[in-house]
Amino acid sequence: MKELRKKIKELFENGEVDAVLGYREDPATGGVKAAVFKKDETLDDMVFDGRCIQNLVNYLPTLVARYRKVGVVLKGCDGRSLVTQLVEHRISKSQIIALGIGCEGVEIDGREAEKCGDCATHMSPVADYEFGEKEEKKEPTFARVEEIEKMSPVERWKFFADYFAKCERCYACRQICPSCYCEICIADQQEPKWIEPSAKLSANTMWHLIRAYHLAGRCADCGECERVCPQDIPLRLLNNALEKAVHEMFGVRPGTVPEEVPPLVVLNKDDPDRILEGKNE
């Protein structure tokens, strides 16, 4: 933390950044909140610890429009998120100074977040400066996805229908997702109206299928959608299932390799036809 503050101060003094996006202690709630630090502002209340679960990349597009150069504090998973934004040319790397922090896991309500148990990126894949320990990379296990895959179709649908029925369609999952940035979301589109506005099972199912599909090969698994869901719908599970599928079929793990193009915007003439049968072998 000391190093990080020192570096940021240095960056400000050298005029390398105009603003730094980080976490600030919030005495009102006893937690932390996302904050923009500017030059000549105190860095004393800047923190990084287990409470810093929020993915800050979501705020970057508005910030790069306002400032010439923005520093951003990144956990491993947030770093992957940043990569997805860079490859989609939503943000230009020339405007970003990435401050990667070796993350040792973050917590929700005092307990380690579920995503951290399966974490494969402790350090951001893009980092101009790295702080803290860099743990060894490992492969994610997708244990939760495999559990569902053992179920029969009927059981699976029962599992998901119970959750989908609870959805209130507040769109917090969409709003917090760095990769959900359509000018007009398909859920808000009037003509044709693919998704009905009312919170009923059929329309909710449409929404969740489309949300998951649109993130296939783009979702970097920051898990924010599931965290913010007021009804605790396992949204990350859907994302993970597609992350696993995309990796199996196209060998791509979104956000881990800078410059790698999302698999669904490119084509490969050599894709085997068996993927259409839902088989991998």
Binding site: P153, R156, K158, L201, H208, Y213, L264, L267, G278
Partner: protein, 144 residues
């Protein structure tokens, strides 16, 4: 719950190959089941998985998507895009509990009227094997 014995199938066919193939099946008087409702699209690359999701949610028992054979796309590469999209859509639908037999993705050329009739027949037969409960997501519970 009462279910229709005859499954309803939505076939989304590309204009240049598969739709022409279906046409040929008709003019050649090959019999194929009347369960199939056809939608013509300019190219299989036009098929947005949203259409497939909607078809299931609106109560179709099976969805079939077909385009030109790889390499034969009228627009060059539409079917390669479609292949990736359909593969991902299938994995997602299977994951939330749509039976794998309820989706069928294939390539049918304009000359393959016979293949079209066969594919439709086989697909219909496979769907008939599924019980009502296995045809999840198309059930009455979705009405509200």
């Amino acid at each position: 719950m009462q279910i229709d014995k005859e499954p309803k199938i939505l076939a989304i066919l590309c204009k240049w190959c598969s739709y022409a193939g279906a046409d040929l099946a008709g003019t050649s008087r090959f019999a194929y089941p009347a369960n199939v409702r056809i939608i013509q699209v300019p190219c299989s690359g036009r098929v947005d998985p949203v259409m497939i999701f909607k078809a299931f949610v609106e109560g179709y028992d099976g969805v079939m998507v077909s385009g030109c054979h790889p390499g034969d796309c009228h627009y060059g590469t539409g079917n390669y895009h479609a292949r990736r999209r359909m593969a991902v859509a299938r994995r997602l639908l299977q994951f939330v509990g749509v039976h794998p037999e309820r989706m069928h993705f294939t390539w049918i050329s304009a000359a393959e009227g016979k293949k079209f009739a066969e594919v439709c027949g086989q697909f219909t037969d496979r769907l008939k094997m599924l019980s009502g409960t296995e045809r999840t997501l198309a059930r009455k519970e979705l009405a509200t």
